[in-house]
Symmetry: C2
């Protein structure tokens, strides 16, 4: 049953699973589990949910992705950008801390999972291409800044609200009197320690003669060290009584069975954010998965990835979680630690289930400021303003898309930002194709080549105008061509024939066909012939379905050289 | 001052105005005035406004267009589709018959005029190209059906509401008991007479030896005859007392000075409909103006047309009117009657002002059914379902755009219909370019030509793969190319070099640049060279601004033949 196997990649790698793969997967799982415990708590905080939600979200989704996903190394769970999008979407329909908020988060995961599965079944993965690279880069950079800013309140120990940069900053500034200096001390120390660990610990350890793998593991365990140290400090010094906010009681339990809300109003309000989260999560996940797969000459199937991620989100919706996707840092850690199959993910899930059952009392005194520090250090690596410089140098259109995405994401929120980025990319593309490059060409003397008369020394014939259209012809530029031909022909009284060289025309839609008919009619009225040359097969097939070729006041030439030989009758001059 | 003259085309034609032009313009004005009186009343009815509004709307706008417009023959005033859009938009914010309704109509004209002027000043006329020919055809056809249906209630003498086909039909059916049979008699007789006049009167008169021009004028006066006959019948037989609805009292007055509403809520509610009306009105107007200008080898300036139409709408807003545009039928009549300059429009305005002052008592007994009949006969000529058949034969994508536009316009209303039409056109275009045609090419033996290996007998080299990409490369299809190259290269173990032939690539945006870099890196890892051939000048200029060419693991060849000579080293086989 190939169609059944197609949807269950686990049947492929599961059959050849052996002891070596098992031991590699187990090692990777231990490393990833250690890294995921603080990260899961932190992303729950970012999403506005209780800490255990972060751990629950890292269990069922991982197992489901292991069954349905095609990437061998992708690690699925809560990630920074998706957690931010969750907080933004759910914050619009419920108050943080209420039961309604948690249900809305489940519902968001449910809608997102359902949407992803549907996209996968209908093989609509290509829709993610509408997010151009510059828009994604701009969005990730702006999101990183937003997330880091949103965590500042935990470092300062103040209350703050809002989902845009001005809102957050304004809210924090107006509550600045609440600042708790012990919290600031913990937060700043943790942040500095984590930055130092990330940048300098591995080289330092290697310099001390520690082998590469242990050095790497110790570096990745930096957040755990920060968690342990600050938790012990808060407990030993009784800092919770001096205003330092702590994680507090976390229930000891496996993920509960939960139900998302099915209230039509709630579903309606969360549908658009769910689609946005799905698409952004999918794009992030697929690019990570593709990068890792290419390193081992493996391939991933984007449409099956939709199903894998969709199943993971549906799993989150029914086990007390919130939307998930494949995370960059955890996937890289998983890959570097030697994970060979999705079974590594399943072992990670077991480790996290163990943590959920037995380790949660240990984080009672963990200060929120430490979690905020781990988030800030993680997301600032996403911020890469160099995309502005790179696109500025290459193309103003791409630069505009990045700039608009960054500014609107920071200023008006993530949803408007990314929607505007997509819209402006599409509009700029349409604008560019609406005024296509059209070159008037002549023959390079003594050859069969034809080149732009303004760039090369070529032969021309005053009775013949040849225009090479460097764009597909469709509704957005159809009238442009009409105007252009009209203008060119009315300026030359000796013109007897016009050739449109179609070597770069990949499509002629119905609007363009009507424009060609109008051009043909007008030239006929002026007793000027209209000819085509170098029409591509698919375009010719299409034109044959209309009456245009019957009415054409001229011929279709296979090559521009044929057209020249047949039509260039006047005196030839090298321009 | 050329920049000043640019905005006042009247300075061009006004200087050479002579007695011959004056007499031609006067004759045209008389004919158009006779035609416009019943038409203006009818379109006011369609827009849901009192009859005099139709006449007012035909005075100031005509004069303003004569000053600012570039078409010599365009006749501006209320037209069917724009009146329907007005009724739909204003009906959503006010109750028909109230003072608020009239103010909302003024506001709509004001917003529409302001938007058009701004578009003109910023030279954004090209935006109208986003409405493809099939979408416009579908929209006009569906609007014609909607308008005809909306007038059926006047023919039947029943009350009915709604702005979609199901709403109107349902509303009419549920009020069918109200039918007034005398009204039906008048309406059906008038409709039949007008259809007959339009189709058969001119040939009949010509057959009787009447010269062409008078025959034409008599034909155009058909609506006036229907108006006179039915008005006299209603008056003489006292039919108004038997339930036939009549126009009733119309104030005798020149257009009043009015102010649109500036309430922010009202402005907000009408902004989107105003933009829609502007764009649709502009597209209709420009296509009429271009058709008429081409017949006299004149040109119109689309950006100045925006200013002309915008001024006309602002004029309507301050003189008791509603949104206007250049109408097809009246412009053709004006042109055929010999109008030479926009002065003909000014004379028409004088004629209508005379009518507004002195003739309105004559239409007291005019039955609404007659006005409805003139509208029905006028708009059914717009209905052209053949666009469905034509696009079906040519391209399924264009057919889908037409079908969606027609169905949604009829079923959900004009605004959703046209917005969906534009959206689906753009999406289908992007979808088509997201999976571009890519041909693997080989050399036609003994020539310098390279053709698709699946369509022609060509030489190939097992160590060399040449892919001709038949589409510009941009974010929507960037990843497609990555996948395609990866797939092709991993299926052939002997491949040493890949050439991408760029003869049809008109653009490489930043996303595509990143994809090319990824392809280059992956091929380098596999020890396969990546080469480009036949890169167009503008694309090469762009690539030179990046580091791609420095990192390229291969060369850029001027022609595909050069690439073949340099790289085809293995054994060649004719495929």
């Amino acid at each position: 049953m190939p169609s059944f196997r197609q949807y269950l990649p686990i049947l492929d790698w599961g059959r050849s699973y052996d002891r070596r793969a098992l031991s590699n997967d187990l090692i990777a799982a231990v490393i990833v589990t250690i890294m995921l415990i603080p990260q899961s708590l932190a992303y729950a905080l970012l999403a506005g949910l209780p800490p255990q939600a972060g751990i629950y979200t890292s269990i069922a989704p991982i197992v489901l992705y292991a069954i349905f996903g095609t990437s061998r190394a992708l690690a699925v769970g809560p990630v920074a950008v998706v957690s931010l999008l969750t907080a933004s979407a759910v914050g619009q329909v419920a108050e943080q801390g209420t039961a309604g908020y948690a249900v809305a988060a489940l519902t968001l995961a449910f809608l997102s999972g359902g949407f992803l599965v549907l996209m996968g079944l209908f093989r609509l993965g290509f829709l993610a291409n509408f997010l151009s690279h510059p828009v994604i880069s701009g969005f990730i950079t702006a999101s990183g800044l937003l997330i880091a800013t949103s965590q500042l309140k935990h470092i300062l120990g103040v209350t703050a609200h809002g989902h845009t940069l001005p809102e957050m900053l304004g809210s924090m500034l107006s509550n600045l009197s609440e600042v708790n200096w012990i919290t600031v001390l913990i937060g700043v120390a943790a942040t500095a320690f984590l930055f130092w660990t990330r940048k300098n610990l591995k080289p330092t350890l290697r310099g001390l003669g520690v082998p590469s793998l242990p050095a790497d593991i110790l570096t990745k365990a930096g957040p755990v060290a920060a968690v342990v140290a600050t938790t012990v400090a808060v407990w030993a010094l009784g800092l919770a009584d001096r205003g330092v906010r702590i994680v507090g009681e976390v229930p000891q339990s496996l993920p509960p069975l939960t139900l998302p809300g099915f209230d039509p109003d709630l579903l309606g309000a969360l549908l658009v954010p769910a689609i946005l989260i799905s698409v952004i999560g999918f794009v992030e996940s697929v690019s990570v998965a593709q990068t890792l797969a290419a390193k081992k000459r493996q391939r991933i199937d984007p449409d099956q990835e939709l199903i894998g991620l969709g199943a993971a989100n549906l799993g989150a919706a029914f086990t007390g979680g919130f939307p998930v996707t494949g995370g960059f840092s955890r996937s890289v850690v998983n890959f570097d630690a030697g994970a060979e199959t999705p079974a590594a993910g399943a072992f990670t899930a077991i480790g996290l289930a163990f943590a959920a059952l037995f380790l949660t009392p240990l984080v009672y005194f963990l200060p929120n400021a430490t979690l905020a520090a781990t988030i800030i250090v993680a997301v600032l690596s996403l911020v890469d303003p160099s995309i502005l410089k790179k696109t500025w140098g290459y193309s103003r259109a791409d630069f505009s898309a990045v700039a608009v995405t960054i500014l609107l994401t920071l200023g008006l929120g993530v949803e408007i930002g990314v929607a505007a980025g997509v819209a402006i990319s599409v509009l700029l593309h349409l604008y560019k194709t609406s005024r296509p490059h059209v070159a008037e060409v002549g023959r390079v003397p003594g050859t069969e080549h034809f080149r732009n008369i303004h760039r090369h020394t070529v032969e021309t014939d005053p009775s013949l105008v040849t225009l090479r259209v460097d764009e597909s012809l469709y509704f957005v530029n159809a009238r442009f061509l009409e105007d252009l031909v009209q203008r060119r022909v009315t300026t030359g009284t000796t013109i007897r024939n016009v050739v449109l060289q179609f070597s770069a025309v990949n499509e002629v839609d119905y609007s363009a066909l009507e424009s060609l008919e109008a051009i043909n009619q007008r030239l006929k009225d002026m007793e000027v012939g209209l000819h085509l040359s170098e029409v591509k097969g698919p375009v010719m097939d299409r034109l044959r379905r209309s009456h245009f070729l019957d009415q054409l006041n001229g011929q279709v030439f296979l090559s521009q050289h044929d057209a020249w030989r047949a039509l260039a009758v006047g005196k030839r001059s090298a321009a």
